[in-house]
Each structure stands twice: as structure tokens, then as C-alpha cells.
């Protein structure tokens, strides 16, 4: 009879977050992956739902004024390059971007899911910075990451890290916002200066770096949106003008609603540094991406009231009324130039700046 020996518990070397790198085992479903999740993702993003540790999270749906409301769901992939930029990084961006997509529907964002595609060799230190920033953004917004997934691809098959986030929110019955609701006479508002995100990213591109005192405007807009909705104003449509900028967003709404728009160049808020950068790069600031700006279209009578509400919110201090919706069978978005002429504000052709978000 052999003697019974106690089985020694294995020593698990902690993740080397200073010098370690992602390797293929981190995505293999084995202990290394469990360790990465525990020591990095769960440590920063942890909450009671993520802590359930199952294949999916079981979530309560809060009722609105005693009614169940409707679910709003949106998903967004993030491939921004560089991963870290003035005013943010891919982590905070992936939280803000998806919260905004849910919030512009008029919904209160509740939960996020996050999928990570990591490239073999990616520094764990950078990954930790990204996850931490994501956690901070989610905490500040009050929207937890409740479930996630991680995959690792071989070196050369990815570009550091790609993050997909999915958001869920609740929308009260009766509230209906949408791109097809703009009517001639409506007012067009923007919550602040345009093009900050795109120019901040561009200023750090490898082949192009220039010194511009500009930060990305990356921010979660659900607080500002809640304040706007609380006014009871007749809001037709809210959008966040990301890729393609103001031009793409307004062209989209114009064609969905079957209307035209007339904007006034002098009224459009633009930081001088952004205007200057666009000038020498040959970009149109109206086509440059934003990550913390809101376009609102509302009934004419409510324009000034919404503008005042925006001004009272920290994310809407530079808000402006920039134009109105007009009757136009061609659905053109037009602009009266500060010079005194008129022109079309067209969709962006091609991509003046790939991998902006």
C-alpha cells in the first residue's frame, strides 16, 4: 500500500505585464487563456455579470415608468491606428463609440460586450493599458462590460489589437428617433467643434506626424442626450457623425427623409488648429471623423431651446445651430459659404483617412 501524499497545488507564474507578450496559447482555450482573462480582463473590467463566468451573461432589464420598454442593440468594430492617440486609445474609443450608437437611438445604454482579436507578439503592457482605459471609460459612463471573448491570431495576421463592442440599451415606449423623420423647416444642431478626432489621429500617423495641440473628442454622449430628451423638445433624429463626418451623416439623413438641407458655413464650429491642419492636408473638415459630437435635428420651434440645453452641458459648450432642413427633390445638402457663394456638401469619396476608429 503506498502512502497517500497530498497533491501540491501548482505554482502559477503571474502574467508578466511589464515585458510579456501575447502568444498563441493566450487564445487556445487552455490555462493561459484563463489566466489572461482573470489577471487582465476580469481584474479591470470585473462586475457581478462578468463574474458569472458563464458563456453568456444573465441580465436584468430595468423597466421604464413601470413598462418594459424596447431593447436597442448596436455593434461596432474598432481598428484604429495608432492604438494610442491624444485624447484616448482604442479601449476608451470602443466603449464610447458603442455607447453613442445606442444612445443616439434615444435609449439608455445598459450593458456592453467586448470581443478582442489580439496579434501574437502584442505587448501585454500595452494590452493592460488598453483594458484599463476601457474599464475607466465604462465605469465613468456607468455601462459595464458584461461578457467578452478573446482570440489570438498569428503574428502578421492582425495589427496589434482589434476590438468589437456590442451595446444594449432600453428605449421607452413612444419615443421614436430616426433618420427618416426630418421635415422641411426643421433645425440642424451640432454639439461642438468638428473634426477633432480625425485630426488628432492624423497628427500621430507614422508617415505624417505633425505637432498639433489637438485631442480627440472621444466621449460618451448618453448624458448629453438624456438632457436633450428631458426637455421634451420635438427631436426628429440624433446621430454621431463618425466616419465621413458631418457631410456623410447629413447626406444619409437627407436621403432617408427625402429632404434637402441648407447649412451656413459661418455657423459651423471649427477649432483653428483643426481648420489649419485640414488646410495643409487638403481635407474638408466637414468630412473628418468625430467621436464625441452629436447632430440633432428638431422642430424649428425647439431649436433655440435645445441649443441652450446643449450649452449647459459640458459636452455641448460649443454647440451651434448650423442650418435647416429644406424641401429638395434631389436631397442635396448645400452650404452657403462664408465667401458668399453656395455649394454642395457631398459624401466623402473614397477614404481620406483609413482606420480612424
Amino acid at each position: 500500500m503506498g502512502e497517500v501524499r497530498e497533491i501540491r497545488s501548482a505554482y502559477v507564474r503571474p502574467l508578466d505585464l511589464k515585458h510579456g507578450r501575447v502568444d498563441l496559447t493566450h487564445g487556445s482555450g487552455g490555462r493561459a487563456m484563463v489566466q489572461l482573462i482573470a489577471e487582465l480582463f476580469a481584474r479591470h473590467l470585473g462586475n457581478e455579470y462578468l463574474g458569472q463566468g458563464n458563456d453568456g451573461a444573465v441580465l436584468p432589464v430595468p423597466s421604464i415608468a413601470g413598462k418594459p420598454g424596447r431593447l436597442v442593440m448596436s455593434t461596432d468594430c474598432h481598428v484604429v491606428s495608432p492604438l494610442f492617440f491624444p485624447g484616448g486609445d482604442i479601449g476608451s474609443l470602443s466603449v464610447h463609440g458603442t455607447i453613442n450608437d445606442v444612445a443616439v437611438m434615444g435609449a439608455t445604454p445598459l450593458y456592453l460586450a467586448a470581443g478582442f482579436i489580439l496579434e501574437e507578439g502584442f505587448a501585454l503592457n500595452d494590452l493592460a493599458r488598453i483594458v484599463e482605459s476601457m474599464a475607466n471609460a465604462a465605469r465613468a459612463a456607468g455601462v459595464p462590460v458584461v461578457t467578452g471573448d478573446t482570440k489570438v491570431v498569428e503574428r502578421g495576421k492582425g495589427d496589434g489589437v482589434f476590438i468589437t463592442t456590442t451595446g444594449v440599451g432600453v428605449l421607452p415606449d413612444g419615443l421614436q428617433l430616426g433618420g427618416s423623420r426630418a421635415r422641411p423647416g426643421d433645425r440642424v444642431l451640432v454639439s461642438g467643434s468638428l473634426g477633432d478626432h480625425g485630426v488628432a489621429i492624423m497628427s500621430k500617423r507614422e508617415n505624417l506626424s505633425f505637432d498639433a495641440a489637438i485631442e480627440s473628442d472621444s466621449a460618451a454622449l448618453h448624458g448629453l442626450i438624456a438632457a436633450l430628451l428631458a426637455t421634451g423638445a420635438d427631436i426628429r433624429c440624433l446621430r454621431d457623425p463618425t466616419r465621413g463626418g458631418l457631410a456623410a451623416t447629413l447626406n444619409e439623413i437627407a436621403s432617408q427623409s427625402g429632404v434637402g438641407m441648407m447649412l451656413h458655413e459661418k455657423a459651423i464650429p471649427l477649432k483653428p488648429v483643426v481648420a489649419a491642419a485640414c488646410e495643409f492636408l487638403g481635407l474638408d473638415p466637414l468630412c473628418v471623423a468625430n467621436e464625441g459630437k452629436l447632430i440633432a435635428i428638431c422642430a424649428a420651434a425647439d431649436g433655440e431651446r435645445l441649443l441652450a440645453t446643449m450649452h449647459a452641458h459640458p459636452l455641448g459648450r460649443d454647440a451651434a445651430l448650423i442650418g435647416e432642413v429644406i424641401d429638395d427633390a434631389h436631397h442635396f445638402v448645400q452650404l452657403t459659404t462664408a465667401f458668399g457663394g453656395r455649394r454642395i456638401v457631398d459624401w466623402l469619396v473614397g477614404d481620406q483617412l483609413p482606420r480612424i476608429c
Binding site: N207, K266, T337, G341, V349
Partner: protein, 379 residues
């Protein structure tokens, strides 16, 4: 923006517009060709024609570098990228110019060509330094403005003995193009393209000076006013042209005196002369084959000449039959006169080169001005 906003001032524009309106003579029409795409772009982007009296008509000229690039030249670049497997560097606008077989450099990139957009020839040199095992070719296009930087890059490559760097030279010359337009039957014999004067190039003139235009003013009795690319520059130039026409003068005047002298940039001219020589002939899109209208790399720098290095032969390829780019580049037709404008041919799917660059007449009209076609004015 200091030194920019001053040239886009709406109130000054109104003042100038008032002066032009007061000066134009009744029952007289004024047709001015803006040679440069930079002017075409400014006119469309700032809605300049809204400020001009109906009797002043602006005719778009051929001065858009990617517009005049013939299909055969783009084919050569695509061949270098796909067959010869070089790293092909070029300026952004060139990427979308339509070539043979439905290709463009952009589409060739998706097929595996290593094609990179650069902002400067210095970037192309750096790519050559960073990739010593690869051949790196700079696809050089443009008028006299972009020629000196190419000359410098070639001289720098020689100093550094960068054996893997070469240039596919497609630099063209402004005076040759103006001369061709003035000699065209539409202008000279039939009068179907009335040209009462030229808004002369801005950036090109900083290099070549105002002197080369004196021949056109004298020989063809056409006034030339060299103008900057800002909208007020263009307005001021139109005012000066109207004055010359009214007074029966045909002179070279310089509105862009803050940057252009009569002699131009002599240092840049010297560099260009050191590295380049005239080509006997060159095919332009729209203007067809124009003698002595382009540059090629001199024998002393032969090792940096991609045409010699890769033994490339130029093969002329006709434009799409329905495309009117040729007539538009000569001022014979307007973009909206083309049957496929805005239908088959759009900035997303350009058939002709004029729909590619924002300086192209078709792209500028499509992106900024096509509301004028609808005949409705709803403000």
C-alpha cells in the same frame, strides 16, 4: 487662420463682385479660362459663380495634373507594381485614375501590388532607404510645381547612391498646354471656344515666373492675369481681366505678386534643368500628342530613370468612347454636357480622369456645383 482667412473674406468678395458688375459692358460676354485645377476647385468650393454677373463665363482648362495623365502612363505604373513587384510610391490623387482593364493603382493595390501614397518625394526616398532589397519607384506626375522636388530627390538618391530608387517621370509643361489650346481649331479657326483671357497658374508661376506667358499675350492677343488659389485672388484676377478686355489690352499682369516674380524661382529652374530634358513628344489626355510638352530624365541620371531601368515601352490606349474628358480639358465642353456625367461616371466610379481629382472639372462640378443643374433655388 492667419494669412488664409484674409483671402476668403465674404465682405471683400461682395465689394469686388460689385466692382466687376459695374465694369462689365452691357451686351458683351467675357469668357476666361482658368488654366489650373486649383482655380477650378476654388471657384466651385466657394461658389464663386454666384458672385459673378451672368456675362462672365469661366471655362475650365487642362491644368489638373492627374486629369491629363493618359491611360498608357498609369498602365506603366501598374505594370511596375504588379509584374515587376516594385514598391510604387505616388501622390494620393493618382491612385484612383482609371487605367486599362478596369484597373487603377488603387485596384492594383487590392490585387497585391505594393503601392504607397506619399505626401512628398522625401517619403519615397525614405521608403527606398528602409527597403534596400526592394526596387522603389516614384511615379512622378504634375506640372512645374512638383518637378523641382522630383529633381531634388533624384540628386539626393545619386549622392546617397541609392541603387534601388528610380522615378517614372511624367512631368508636363504648362506653356506647352496653353499653346496647344490657343492653336486648337475650336479657339483659332471656328471660334466655338471663345477665350478672352486666362487666369494664369498660381503655384506653377512661383517656379517658372510670369515671363513665359508674355508670348501668349503678345502673339495671340490674350490677356493673362496670374492669380493665387484663394477665392479673393480669383475675383481680383477676373476684375483685372475685365479691365484689360474693356481697354483692349492684352498683357501679362500679376495678381499673385506675393509669391510670383517675372523670373520665377531660378534655383528651382536650375535644378530641373540639371536633371531633366525635354521629351520630343508626350501624350496628354485630352490634348493628344503634344511636341516638347513634357520632361524626361537626362542621361547622367539614367540609373534613376524607371523607363530605362525596367525597359518600359509606352503604349497609347484610347479613352472610353463615351467619356468627354478630352473635350472638357480643352474647354470645348462642360462637364454637364457629357452624357455619362453623374450617371455612369461619378467620383465613386470615375470613367474619366476629370472625375477623379478634386481639381478635375467634372469632380469639382459634381461635388460642389451640380445643384445648379436642377434650376431650382431654394434657400
Amino acid at each position: 487662420m492667419k494669412f488664409i482667412d484674409e483671402f476668403r473674406d465674404g465682405e471683400l468678395a461682395q465689394t469686388l463682385a460689385g466692382k466687376i458688375s459695374a465694369l462689365v459692358e452691357p451686351f458683351r460676354r467675357y469668357s476666361f479660362m482658368e488654366f489650373c485645377g486649383g482655380h477650378t476647385h476654388a471657384i466651385s468650393r466657394y461658389g464663386l459663380s454666384d458672385l459673378l454677373p451672368d456675362s462672365v463665363r469661366l471655362v475650365h482648362g487642362p491644368g489638373c495634373p492627374v486629369c491629363v495623365l493618359p491611360i498608357g502612363r498609369v498602365d506603366m505604373a501598374i505594370n511596375l507594381a504588379l509584374q515587376q513587384q516594385v514598391i510604387l510610391c505616388t501622390y494620393g490623387d493618382t491612385l484612383r485614375v482609371p487605367a486599362s482593364d478596369g484597373l487603377s493603382l488603387m485596384k492594383a493595390k487590392a490585387r497585391g501590388g505594393d503601392i504607397r501614397m506619399v505626401y512628398s518625394t522625401l517619403d519615397a526616398l525614405q521608403i527606398a532607404r528602409d527597403n534596400p532589397q526592394r526596387e522603389v519607384v516614384f511615379f512622378a506626375i504634375g506640372f512645374e510645381t512638383t518637378t523641382p522636388p522630383t529633381a531634388l530627390a533624384i540628386q539626393q538618391a545619386q549622392r546617397e547612391q541609392l541603387g534601388n530608387f528610380s522615378v517614372l517621370c511624367c512631368h508636363v509643361l504648362t506653356p506647352a498646354a496653353i499653346g496647344t489650346i490657343l492653336e486648337s481649331p475650336e479657339v483659332r479657326q471656328w471660334g466655338s471656344v471663345p477665350i478672352d483671357g486666362f487666369i494664369g497658374p498660381a503655384h506653377v508661376s512661383t517656379v517658372i515666373g510670369s515671363r513665359p506667358y508674355e508670348f501668349f499675350a503678345e502673339e495671340y492677343r490674350k490677356p493673362v492675369v496670374i492669380a493665387g488659389f484663394e477665392p479673393l485672388d480669383v475675383m481680383q484676377a477676373i476684375l483685372m481681366l475685365v479691365r484689360q478686355v474693356n481697354e483692349g489690352r492684352a498683357e501679362v499682369e500679376n495678381e499673385f505678386s506675393r509669391a510670383v516674380t517675372r523670373e520665377g524661382n531660378l534655383k528651382a529652374q536650375d535644378r530641373v534643368a540639371e536633371v531633366f530634358e525635354l521629351r520630343r513628344e508626350f501624350e496628354w489626355r485630352g490634348l493628344s500628342v503634344v511636341p516638347y510638352s513634357a520632361l524626361r530624365i537626362r542621361r547622367n541620371y539614367a540609373q534613376f530613370d524607371a523607363e530605362r531601368r525596367f525597359k518600359l515601352d509606352y503604349r497609347s490606349v484610347p479613352d472610353n468612347k463615351a467619356c468627354e474628358c478630352g473635350a472638357i480639358l480643352r474647354g470645348v465642353k462642360r462637364p454637364q454636357d457629357c452624357k455619362i456625367f453623374g450617371t455612369v461616371c461619378t467620383p465613386e466610379n470615375p470613367v474619366g480622369s476629370c472625375m477623379v481629382s478634386s481639381e478635375g472639372a467634372c469632380a469639382a462640378h459634381y461635388s460642389y456645383g451640380r445643384f445648379r443643374e436642377t434650376g431650382q433655388v431654394s434657400v
